[in-house]
């Protein structure tokens, strides 16, 4: 007989199902419309879902704001480039790569996995130091990490090509590939959030002192969540690289840091559903505004927003959302199926999900 406890668990696991279904519906819609630019928009939005969900695994569960995730993206993106580029072009543009890396020409899928793993490894090392801090000091340290990664990748001539872009990446990331990774990230995020470590970590988010008092090893759980988070962030970096086709350290700096955090916060930092909602709604709004700049016909009258107004309006929209809903659009709640099993009476005493 399923207890309420089990039902709650089931309901919790329904979240990724709903989110993936929404994403799938989104992709199917794009496929039906058959518009190249739109399909690309969808692929980019889904890569961003992977990124923001990856970011959420750490930020959402630990409550520590990270400015450093664009660094993990850069690490993943360049790793995938090292592994998949043709040896000739590496010899030309990245002459200082070690021979085994120079000769490597991996298929894209294992390269993506390796990118995630490298980012996770760096997260383990950097996190081991940074996560001894908490609160805003930790956030600043993550920013310093990002600045270090950016400076190194912008100047390490023979290995990253420095400011000279790395070129020739296979542009294999279409909406289906991006959908697959986004779904994987969502499922992993949900599994982690409902694991013992995830639950413990969220307890520390609510009340650090009490959680410490009850013997939760916050440091270990934070580190663990950062490693998983960096894995998916690294993969999203690789995907971004293989979607643009050209890599430059500049792509993985402040711009993407802030836009991904903004999407997370606008959607609702407290829940996985919030992370996905934020990306989808803001991406949709950006696309609508871009199209409005290009000119749209409303009731026979052609009208277009002036160039550059999209950026201004999206900023205004973010501010308005945060003023009206400081906890984000979802307010930290998850989308769940209400599983009612009428034949079996619900147990009377209220139980919590932990």
């Amino acid at each position: 007989m399923p207890s309420q406890h089990a039902q709650n668990r089931l309901a919790a696991y329904s979240t990724p199902l709903i989110l993936s279904a929404v994403l799938l519906a989104f992709v199917l819609l794009v496929v039906v419309l058959d518009d190249k630019a739109l399909a690309r928009t969808a692929a980019e939005a889904l890569v961003r879902v992977t990124l923001v969900v990856g970011l959420w695994i750490f930020v959402g569960n630990s409550g520590v704001i990270s400015f450093g995730h664009a660094g993990y993206m850069a690490i993943g993106a360049y790793c995938s480039a090292w592994l998949t580029l043709k040896p000739q072009s590496k010899a030309l543009f990245l002459p200082d790569l070690p021979p085994w890396l120079m000769d490597a020409q991996w298929p894209v899928f294992p390269a993506a996995i390796a990118s995630g793993l490298l980012a996770a490894l760096v997260a383990l090392l950097s996190g081991a130091a940074i996560l001894r801090l908490s609160g805003i000091a930790a956030s600043i340290a993550t920013f310093a990490f990002l600045a270090i990664v950016n400076t190194v990748y912008s100047n390490w001539e023979g290995v990253t090509g420095a400011t000279s872009s790395v070129v020739g990446l296979a542009r294999y990331v279409d909406h289906w590939v991006a959908l697959a990774w986004a779904t994987a990230a969502i499922v992993a995020a949900n599994l982690y959030a409902n694991s013992a470590s995830g639950l413990a970590l969220r307890a520390t988010r609510e009340d650090e002192v009490a959680a410490r008092a009850s013997g939760i090893d916050m440091y270990r759980h934070r580190l663990w969540s950062l490693v998983i988070s960096a894995f998916f962030t690294g993969i999203s970096g690789a995907l971004l690289g293989h979607s643009i086709g050209v890599l430059n350290p500049d792509s993985f700096y402040l711009g993407i840091t802030f836009i991904s955090l903004a999407m997370l916060v606008v959607g609702g930092i407290g829940s996985l559903s919030g992370a996905v909602t934020g990306v989808l709604l803001l991406s949709l709004l950006i696309e609508l505004l871009v199209r409005a700049e290009r000119g749209i016909t409303v009731g026979g009258a052609e009208f277009a927003l002036p160039s550059g107004s999209q950026e201004i309006l999206i900023g205004v929209a973010m501010i308005v959302v945060l003023i009206l809903r400081p906890a984000g659009l979802t307010g930290g709640r998850e989308f769940k199926l209400r599983l009612s099993v009428p034949r079996i009476p619900l147990s009377q005493e209220p139980t919590s999900t932990n």
Partner: protein, 389 residues
């Protein structure tokens, strides 16, 4: 205002497109910081289109254009590329900067379509960074640096040089690469020191202190940077009382920033043509006047010119190939050796879709007044392995 003026000046194009029209797709920045570079060059390209149409068109057909905004964003660039392809582009013009133009150019490459960077000066903006159908309308950054080295050695007895590199973008490194290749080859020269900075450094005081610590002020300082960082560096160099001749790349062309260092002297810029009305070639001034007619003001820098050049070259290649087919047009472009344009001869080859040598006008600023003082073509083209180092 400017856009309105342009639209009316080229009103032919406002006519509804015929089915047999040729379509040029502009996937360029219409907003964001790159817009300042893309718009003038794109305007120049449209002026050339207008001229071609007025002369009976290309292959007997009129040329029209479609545009998509990259918003100075890499991902938006890829989308803009796809969009102009969807709208029927037969060739694609992409942003001035390699990084922001490449995602769109790659989409063109996938279709086997010819693409031109408006004014990218990195060797990657072409075969090496996009593919066999990609070209740039401009002159390689390394050529500019090499021109500065050879010219200053020949005409200003430059023997000691100091290299100040802004590591922020690849263009700057290209300039310094050219200088570093050419200068040491010349008689009696020595590079007495080098240093780096970043474009957004609030102050370069310690870099200047290092120059001042030299036993003797260098004859020339090769400043590889762009505006705003370059203007700021020049102001600080002069404020520190350093009077060496300052050499630059084309990126600092234009008198618009000169207020940053009033009464500046001893400052030299290599350009493809002079915007100041004193270019020895009358075609350049004719263009300047046409540009003013179209936009209401003269070009703010020489970066408008490559747009005109690329459209000119592409149209010639299409005319010779007799088709719009990417491969055929590319083959015709690659046959061009010293092809005449209003801004000097241009060449392409199967290895390089870029100018590795070019006639540059030397603009010198004296007492805050820029003037074309000379014209220089480097004695040997910059070799490919130097470009790709």
């Amino acid at each position: 205002m400017k856009r309105l003026a342009l639209a009316s000046a080229i009103s032919v194009l406002a006519m509804p497109a015929l089915a047999s029209d040729i379509t040029v797709g502009f996937a360029i920045a219409q907003s964001g910081w790159l817009e300042a570079y893309d718009t003038p060059a794109a305007t120049a390209a449209k002026i050339r289109i207008d001229e071609i149409n007025a002369n009976g068109g290309l292959l007997g057909r009129q040329i029209k254009w479609v545009e998509a905004d990259t918003k100075t964003d890499r991902q938006q660039s890829a989308r803009a590329g796809l969009q102009v392809i969807d709208e029927g582009a037969d060739m694609m013009v992409v942003s001035c900067d390699y990084d922001f133009g490449a995602p769109a150019a790659l989409s063109a490459e996938t279709e086997g379509m010819v693409s031109f960077f408006l004014c990218a000066e990195d060797v990657k903006a072409g075969i090496q960074g996009v593919g066999p159908h990609s070209f740039s309308g401009s002159v390689l950054a390394a050529v500019q640096g090499a021109t500065m080295a050879e010219w200053s050695h020949a005409k200003r007895e430059a023997r000691t040089g100091y290299v100040l590199l802004d590591t922020t973008i690849e263009y700057n490194k290209g300039i310094c690469t050219g200088f570093d290749w050419m200068f040491p080859q010349l008689d009696g020269t020595e590079i007495v020191g080098r240093d780096t900075f970043k474009n957004d450094d609030a102050s370069i005081a310690s870099q200047i202190t290092r120059i001042k610590a030299l036993p003797e002020e260098p004859d020339v300082i090769m400043l590889c940077s762009y505006i705003p960082g370059a203007a700021s560096a020049v102001r600080q160099i002069r404020a520190a009382g350093i009077n060496s001749l300052i050499l630059n790349g084309s990126a600092v062309d234009g008198s618009y920033w000169l207020d940053a260092t009033p009464d500046l002297s001893g400052f030299v810029v290599p350009v493809q043509g002079s915007i100041y009305g004193d270019d020895p070639r009358p075609e350049v001034e004719t263009f300047n006047v046409a540009y003013e007619k179209a936009t209401g003001s003269r070009p703010a820098s020489s970066y408008a010119y490559p747009g005109y050049v690329l459209m000119d070259l592409w149209a010639k290649a299409v005319e010779r190939a007799g088709t719009l087919d990417g491969a055929a047009v590319t083959a015709e472009l690659e046959k061009m050796k010293g092809e005449n344009t209003a801004f000097g001869p241009r060449s392409f080859s199967q290895e390089l879709h870029h100018q590795n040598a070019a006639e540059m006008q030397i603009i010198e600023i004296t007492d805050g007044k820029p003037a074309a003082v000379d014209s220089w073509t480097i004695s040997q083209p910059v070799p490919l392995d130097v470009l790709l180092n």
